[in-house]
Symmetry: C2
């Protein structure tokens, strides 16, 4: 028995079974017994309720293996939806996904800029309404809204450690205000971690369950996935490769350290160097004067277009940036001993074709354990939307695997039900 | 029930229960039910066998909480022992530990030097005999021998990725030869990972179950512990902070990359710089001519003694090395979002008092998430023996938690018994 005889199955049994069905695509009740360790009686009871709630469908029978042909179960993909929002100074990206994490609607709007947080929150509420209405989805089927932004969100739901351009967001009670404006439950997280989750749910990493998403938006970061669970570290800040030191005497970074990868190689550094070269600035069509933050991604795109049409100076700048990012990616791969990296984020959606070969070459040539195994580097097919997809997945996970301790996944679901059955997924 | 009614409990139930008793110190059968999720019947059966085998003792009763006073169980510490060997060019360290991981005997002997592997294996067998005989422990109670060395051991039991001075050990069938010479089961691992395990078993990290052991022996590395389990990565190479790039145009490292922490800051770099300064070399009493590898640790100790008695040039060299190590430690803390580091390994046993304040200052000043939490840095009290203690702990773990897939801990013990109960520890 999975608990005292006749006891009602725990809520987390439901969550664990739902997640196994999602990951499997289709699976029989007997398959669920094997995958979860729950008894047949528990599986029967929970699956019946999931079907009654419309979350799971029976979908034909498996090939016979001698005995009775088994009924297959799958998620009812269109029974529930989630909104994912990626908030950045340069742009706000929205996606609406179904219960399986597939994108059913997406849109991009102007970024945060220097507007006050209440103005942006009001605008986001309108834009979320437009997203949902445009997709024709009944609002009662939306589980909630995941919002991700640069830097981690702290336990009290305000932003911490944000880059200078977003300082006015510190201490703003984002979760509360967004809930009030949208009437949707809100989950917050940092964009690089969400990008890793988005890549995992999109299946863009070839089925690898342990990998890093090397992220370049307006800043540089990484999200880490270990055995299918995001690795977050002590305070949700794991993966800060933008602040790997590449030059101990290098230029000062906004974080207070010197020679950080982001200061040397981030889009802002590339755009600043392009502006400093007046011939290049003219060739790339950069606007005059110092770049406003919301312009930076557009300017970075302009430099990239110049490089792709053969401007040698633009190409040299981007390859220099790529070499720095490649060394940071190698450090990450060395420290975690990874064999899969995926390049993602809005800036790599633009310039990934220039960065990919440089990062792969660096890992082939100098990854410490290259005699033991190679590191495969891919460019995400959803680089510009991965953080928003991950934001929606956070909401879906909170239905599939109830969240505990704020944003952190449970350390071990077995802890929550000491006499219960084993849980198939590991968490950090 | 933990399996089909009346079935014999699995071997891994035994291992899991034994490990919970070890970690708890003392615990009742009811406590084991709560901690492991096994039924009372399973706990009764397994505990009876552990007592019959002499591994566990009943040791008085807990204070009454109203009902019957509960019998407490604890490991029979002196029922089994393990040998731990840390093999390095500069020295070989041996420990004999009891079942709880406490050191009952230790000794240090000359390092590997340029001797051929068969010569060293024969010597190790003699030295292991002396260790066991000197402690007066019956050989039948020795569970096995753990051997750790620089660089990971691959699945076929030979060394890979070793530094140049140990190249002649590549492809030598160490496990097989050591088994033949000592008649003890052999477990192999890399020394930095073993150091983290040794720190964990020694309790030197103040009970933290997630931390990094920053290791400096003849080389630089780190062992990573996440939720009480060593994090190994794809090939057992996680934690290679000696090959974090600190200067993209820096000197070439033996690993093939440039500007590695080890090349800039390792003991060999410190000794080479001290030799290049003839006044300092004389003041520190360094031998003339290029340092032989086995001399390097002695020379590093000589430079450290000079610094500690006030030689400014020696102090400056070590502080420069410490600043580089500190930046690598900060990168590790940033990437993994750690809040505990312990400095360990033979070189930090010697010079830790100089390195500790520099590393702590770097993390206080520039750790990316310092506004969210601080990073506590400690100097290990067993810095010179931690790898050997960890080597013995590997053997004890293989009794406590059966090894699967060579040296890797099981991903999830629940996988091995799909209908069984949950297991309290997570593995990677």
């Amino acid at each position: 028995m999975s608990g005292p005889a006749g006891a009602t199955p725990h809520a987390s049994s439901r969550a664990a079974i739902l997640d196994v069905i999602r990951a499997a695509g289709t699976i029989s009740r007997v398959g669920l017994v094997h995958a979860t360790g729950f008894t047949g009686a528990t599986i029967s009871t929970v699956v019946r309720r999931l079907i009654d709630d419309g979350l799971v469908l029976e979908t034909g029978r498996a090939e016979s293996t001698g005995g009775k042909r088994r009924v297959l179960l799958q998620l009812n993909q269109s029974s529930r939806f989630a909104v994912g929002v990626h908030l950045d100074h340069a742009g706000i990206t929205y996606v609406l996904t179904n219960l399986g994490g597939s994108v059913v609607a997406r849109m991009s709007r102007a970024g945060v800029g220097t507007d006050d947080p209440p103005v942006i929150v009001a605008r986001m509420a309108t834009e979320v309404d437009a997203l949902i209405d445009g997709a024709g989805v009944d609002r009662s089927r939306i589980l909630g809204l995941g919002l991700v932004a640069p830097g981690p969100m702290d336990q009290t739901s305000s932003m911490r450690l944000v880059p200078p351009a977003m300082r006015h967001w510190e201490d703003f009670p984002l979760e509360r205000e967004l809930l009030a404006a949208t009437h949707l439950p809100v989950v917050l997280d940092n964009d690089a971690t969400a990008a890793a989750l988005g890549e995992h749910w999109s299946g863009d990493v070839g089925g690898a369950s342990t990998f890093a998403a090397v992220y370049m938006g307006t800043g540089i970061g990484a999200g880490l996935m270990v055995n299918g669970i995001t690795y977050r570290g002590a305070s949700g800040n794991a993966g800060e490769i933008g602040h790997i030191c590449l030059d101990i005497e290098g230029p000062e970074c906004w974080c207070g350290a010197r020679g950080c990868t982001e200061a040397l190689a981030g889009p802002a550094a590339v755009v600043a160097a392009a502006r400093a070269d007046s011939a290049l600035a003219r060739a790339a069509g950069l606007t005059r004067g110092p770049a406003q933050t919301p312009r930076r991604l557009a300017d970075f795109a302009a430099v990239t277009r110049a490089a792709l049409r053969g401007e040698a100076a633009a190409r040299a700048l981007l390859e220099r940036s790529a070499r720095h990012l490649a060394v940071a990616a190698r450090t990450l791969a060395n420290v975690m001993d990874l064999d899969h990296l995926v390049l993602t984020g809005p800036s790599l959606a633009i310039a990934g074709s220039i960065y990919l070969p440089v990062v792969q070459e660096e890992l082939d040539r100098a990854f410490f354990s290259r005699n033991t195994h190679s590191v495969s580097v891919r460019l995400s097919r959803s680089a510009s939307t991965a953080p928003a997809i991950g934001a929606a997945a956070l909401v879906l996970q909170s239905e599939l695997v109830p969240l505990r301790e704020g944003l952190r996944l449970p350390d071990n679901l077995a802890d929550a039900e000491p006499s219960g059955p084993p849980v198939v997924r590991q968490a950090y």
